[in-house]
């Protein structure tokens, strides 16, 4: 049996309804916020705020609904790996498109 397994056995943790309700409400608030923000004139900040709120909501879901907060290092690492690779795809592709606008040299 490998380290991770032992690790998990010690840490198996049941999240109660209380937490879920709080997160649920937080998510509703977040939704309201982001809709409201989108009606304001904030120029370049509009997308940033929208994405910031979305990310905050996503984080809440991942941490609590998906129990990552209470799960093993391995799971955390997996989540991180996903985000990391996604970032490579996006950033390195965009790097080409953005630098194309600079013209040749």
């Amino acid at each position: 049996m490998s380290e991770e397994t032992k690790h998990a056995e010690q840490e198996h943790h049941i999240v109660g309804p209380g937490v879920y309700v709080v997160i649920f409400l937080a998510l509703l608030v977040g939704t309201a916020l982001t809709v409201w923000a989108s009606f304001l004139e904030l120029g370049p900040w509009n997308p940033i705020i929208a994405l910031a709120i979305a990310t905050a909501k996503a984080t809440l879901v991942v941490l609590f609904f998906m129990h990552v907060k209470y799960s093993t290092k391995l799971t955390k690492l997996t989540v991180f790996a996903g985000i990391f690779t996604f970032m490579i795809l996006v950033s390195m592709t965009l790097a080409d498109y953005i630098s194309r606008a600079w013209g040749s040299w």
């Binding site: 509703l28 994405l51 985000i83």
Partner: protein, 263 residues
């Protein structure tokens, strides 16, 4: 197998050790029916399937990743077209759908809790609620799709630029946002916006449909008490999937509906 003598010797110890370990924090020290032959312990099995589920979600992230990349590029190129396109989406429906989906995520989470604490009726109830909310989401989405179809905003042969080159022709959207008419060349690019809109929401809806199918199956099993006897892995892992679909939607909502709503 004389080769194995040494290994065998050490093995018995470790196996027995493993069993003690299980006995300590598992309700089923002897093998429960749902423990597959190739695992040593319930924990190992639960852990393994859970990790597998996470890896699967990893592939899902990259699957949608391609779409998000395309979205970001074209949004930077054709911002006005994307704004005009997003104004065509009904923010009320969108918000409602977000609430519905978050709600279903909540009920799903409750379902997992019920399974973990062995509340059979609670589990059936929350799974059913999740099921219904999922259907609501798809219903609302289909209403939106229908709207797009009628306005000829579905990319392809029937696509029409009418509402973008001549916003007044589309009064209810116009009175809200007073969009300026787009130049024809920019208006053409709204088709890319809607291509991405349908590709992304379509892929998402597909995941919802699959999820709902599995939910139906789970409700059926749950009523027989399949998940409330200690074997909660399946419910937990499906929960992960369902929450992931929720997360995708949280981003789709922000990116497709809320690009810029101010007038």
């Amino acid at each position: 197998m004389p080769d194995n003598s040494a290994i065998a010797h050490g093995a018995q110890e470790s196996v027995s050790a493993a069993n003690n370990a299980n006995g300590a924090n598992s309700a089923h020290p002897e093998h429960p029916p749902y423990l597959r032959h190739h695992f040593e312990s319930v924990e190992q099995q639960a852990d393994t399937t859970n990790f597998a589920m996470w890896l699967f979600l990893l592939t899902e992230v990259m699957f949608f990743g391609g779409l998000f990349t395309a979205y970001l590029i074209y949004r930077n190129w054709y911002y006005p077209a994307f704004v005009a396109g997003s104004h065509q989406l009904n923010v009320i429906w969108g918000t409602l759908n977000t609430v519905v989906l978050i709600g279903s995520s909540f009920t799903m989470a409750m379902g997992v809790w019920c399974a973990e604490t062995r509340r059979r009726r609670g589990l059936v109830l929350s799974l059913s609620l999740t099921f219904v909310l999922g259907l609501c989401f798809l219903g609302i989405k289909s209403i939106e799709y229908h709207e797009k179809w009628e306005k000829h905003h579905v990319p392809g042969a029937h696509y029409s630029l009418q509402s973008f080159v001549d916003p007044q022709s589309d009064p209810e959207v116009f009175k809200e946002y007073h969009d300026k008419a787009l130049m024809p060349d920019m208006a053409r690019h709204t088709e890319i916006y809607f291509s991405l809109y349908f590709a992304m929401t379509g892929m998402h809806a597909l995941h919802m449909i699959i999820g709902i199918g599995i939910l139906a199956f789970m409700i059926y099993r749950a009523r027989a008490g399949a998940y409330t006897s200690g074997h909660v892995t399946f419910v937990e892992n499906f929960g992960l999937y369902w929450h992931f679909v929720d997360i995708i939607w949280i981003y789709l909502f922000a990116l497709l509906y809320l690009i810029s709503r101010h007038q």
